[in-house]
């Protein structure tokens, strides 16, 4: 009897990593974004070096800076979360502890992004 199944259907799910590709791809996409955003942040901090609160507020309150700052924190915290996940999966062999830590880094990353958005928006809107 001839093979009726698509070769892809036979290959799917047979790899060792199962659902690893999206993780790997997100890590790289955020890495490339950070390749552009980190130099911007460093350059901005160099401009702000030695200045006080007033300059810092007017920097964050600028809509373009605010957008880039939130974008940077989203990419950074997501990239950090994905990286920590790999480290936990590699070195923490206790299943329960590993689950707790994987849960904790997700909550921490989400909380970090929410906090950043709230504070940056507060400065942009001048509240």
């Amino acid at each position: 009897m001839s093979e009726m199944r698509n070769p892809l259907a036979r290959a799917r799910g047979l790899g060792s990593s199962k659902s690893g590709l999206p993780h790997w791809r997100s890590q790289r996409i955020t890495a490339v974004a950070l390749l552009l955003l980190i130099p911007w942040l460093v350059w901005s901090l160099l401009q702000l070096a030695g200045t006080g609160h007033v300059q810092a507020v007017s920097f964050v309150a600028d809509p373009l800076n605010a957008t880039l700052l939130i974008l940077l924190l989203m990419c950074m915290l997501y990239h950090a979360m994905l990286g920590l996940q790999v480290i936990i999966e590699d070195y923490i062999h206790h299943h329960g502890l590993s689950l707790v830590l994987l849960f904790a880094i997700r909550i921490a990353a989400a909380a970090g992004v929410i906090t950043a958005v709230i504070h940056v928006l507060k400065l942009v809107l001048g509240a």
């Binding site: 980190i38 609160h53 915290l77 979360m81 990286g83």
Partner: protein, 117 residues
Amino acid sequence: MIGPYYRPQLTSMMSITHRATGVLLALAGAPLLLWWIIAVSRGAVELTALYSCLGSLPGKIISLALLFSLCFHFCNGIRHLIWDTGRMLKIEHAYRAGWTVLAAAVIGTVLLAGALL
């Protein structure tokens, strides 16, 4: 892996340093940036407190470690992204890029520390 029977090599040492600097940036670098944003939002008193924390001796040591981590992870991250495209995978290229990354990270750290700390 690292024990009496293992000879340290540039490639493996930089690989583990990439992880270590990544952990440091995730657990201290990103929270510090978040702390700065919160301090700016809450007022001059909070921001001055943050700056005086960073200006103290332990603060300067942590800042220096974070600046090096950022420079190293950034430069070595480029090396990894180049590898991901299938380029520079020969041992000699991996080593040459490794030394370049190390030099760039040290120079970057010195320049940034001079300007910011």
